[in-house]
Symmetry: C2
Subunit: 323 residues, 2 copies
């Protein structure tokens, strides 16, 4: 993260506490489960979600016990969904290290995901706040329904922007909105502030996922060719969606190729190139920046503070990051 | 169920309400998910868990809204774990019809399980009772940890009765104990009654799982040979555990065969036969009956009622059923 310190600064001691609590949140006496947990803890991510929780709370007042607890269970929930996603997509690598399903097998990965999901729910219950508990349980349903909807649109090759937005809403925007609104609730914010931070998180979630989807059109692992994993799995994301609705012959032809399903590496290269030359990347970036601007707009309605500025910096990071 | 009507009679109208609510508890606008849900609802089980909830509530007073809600979410939770179990064990049939992973694929099955699990949690939260919510969330963790522990003991071929009992405690007894104690809580029972019904459910859970495990040594599908699925997956259950600790040469030899892992059909037949001739089935049945007797003993401490008698009849059914 470029200006990571600027983002963490207003909650540095709280973030250190989060890190300790997160590390100690997963412990099992079952050796196989503990081995899986150790593997996960050895490859932690950028912790964007807990930072959102802490900063949202700070922007509304102060970080409480319930804020730390929420940051932990929301990161646990995110971790659980990543593990199941890796099983579903048969991903062999995650955050530069082998995924659980690659090291162990699908059985261990499914159950470890279930275990971490349950651990997350227990911690959410420990906040004792029915509003927080309610948000979390709906989240589990949204996240799984979002993934199933994505599979469905992929299987049926649905080329429709509103379907795409529904999927990224359920699979990403709801989680980020939960982070910011739960952060606000945990700090005792009033309903208006909670709603504002919810909206900020949701808009940021759209921007975040569009940024993620754009990565697939470029060479992420420096192997000399774009990743193209999404297209290979039938997921037509915004750049290609835009390109395929151009009224020209090439677009019509490529729409047929996608419908035929059996995509070769050659097809994938052609689709990526077409998305690029048709302005699909620019279109997606503009859409991302619209969400980003709206998110910052909402943020400005909150009182000025170091935490609010850090949230803005985090939003900037999300749209400018290079993975 | 032999004397099913005797068991259902004290809660017949409440059970009818449960059935309606359960059917309508799962609805999705995502076609693929709804197709998976329809498949599940078309192959419902014996509903032993909801009956335990309803009868436990009735035995402590009366069935409330919260009782019905609890019966629904506990059956949903059970359904979700069955779906994930089928993925883990690569089971192709469930309740006489193809499993979700067989009809669709592992991806749909994992996500549908996640979705139903989340739906269950939302409904548990709707009871608004923190004691119920707390039991449910711990349950999710116990069930997944139990399954992982079972895999671990299977992989390492652990031949130890206390490990076996730990596994069946986590994977079965905790859920049945949750059903009876939540039933009692939902009826406003006092702490003593809640504890008694918890113990009854737990003891019944052990008896239930031992009965289930014994089935594996017999010809369930009338194909002319015992199922042997557990042994094939490395799960050494009580009958064989008992047989293998006999101080004779055949037992020592078969322990070696199990440790070598690659079990042929011939090995499995030999292990099953050995469990039978060594008195393993009788030993397991005696163990099961001890749990059954203890469960009935606990039950007698509750005031006499039609619901209490139905719980006893349900306990009898559990140990005498032929699948």
């Amino acid at each position: 993260m470029n200006d990571r310190s600027k983002i963490e600064e207003p909650v540095s001691s709280e973030f250190a506490r989060f890190n300790r609590e997160f590390e100690s949140s997963l412990r099992s006496e079952t050796n196989l489960l503990q081995a899986a947990i150790d593997q996960i803890l050895g490859a932690t991510g950028k912790h964007i979600r807990p930072l959102l929780v802490l900063l949202a709370a700070k922007a509304c007042g102060a970080v409480t016990e319930s804020t730390i607890n929420s940051a932990v269970f929301l990161e646990l929930l995110h971790t659980a969904t990543l593990i199941h996603d890796d099983v579903i997509d048969e991903t062999k690598q995650r955050r530069g290290v082998p995924s659980l399903n690659a090291i162990f097998d699908n059985r261990v990965a499914v159950l470890t995901g279930d275990y971490i999901l349950s651990t997350a729910l227990i911690r959410s219950i420990q906040t004792g706040d029915m509003r927080i508990i309610g948000i979390v349980s709906n989240l589990g349903r949204d996240l799984s329904e979002g993934e199933i909807k994505q599979m469905e649109t992929a299987d049926e090759r649905i080329l429709d922007e509103s379907c795409y937005l529904q999927v990224i809403y359920k699979k990403t925007a709801t989680l980020l909105a939960a982070c910011t609104s739960i952060g606000a609730i945990s700090a005792g914010a009033d309903d208006k502030q909670i709603a504002q931070l919810h909206e900020f998180g949701e808009l940021l979630g759209y921007a975040f996922q569009i940024r993620d989807d754009i990565f697939d059109y470029f060479d992420a692992s420096h192997i000399g060719k774009p990743t193209g994993n999404d297209i290979r799995e039938g997921k037509v994301t915004l750049p290609l969606l835009y390109a395929l609705r151009q009224p020209n012959e090439e677009a019509a032809h490529l729409r047929q190729i996608i419908l035929n399903k059996d995509l070769t590496d050659e097809h994938i290269k052609r689709l990526i190139d077409f998305a690029k030359v048709s302005g699909g990347i620019e279109y997606a970036k503009q859409s991302m920046m619209r969400y980003h601007h709206q998110a910052l707009e909402v943020l400005r309605s909150l009182p000025e503070s170091a935490a609010r500025n850090a949230l803005a910096a985090l939003a900037d990071y999300i749209v400018t990051r290079e993975k």
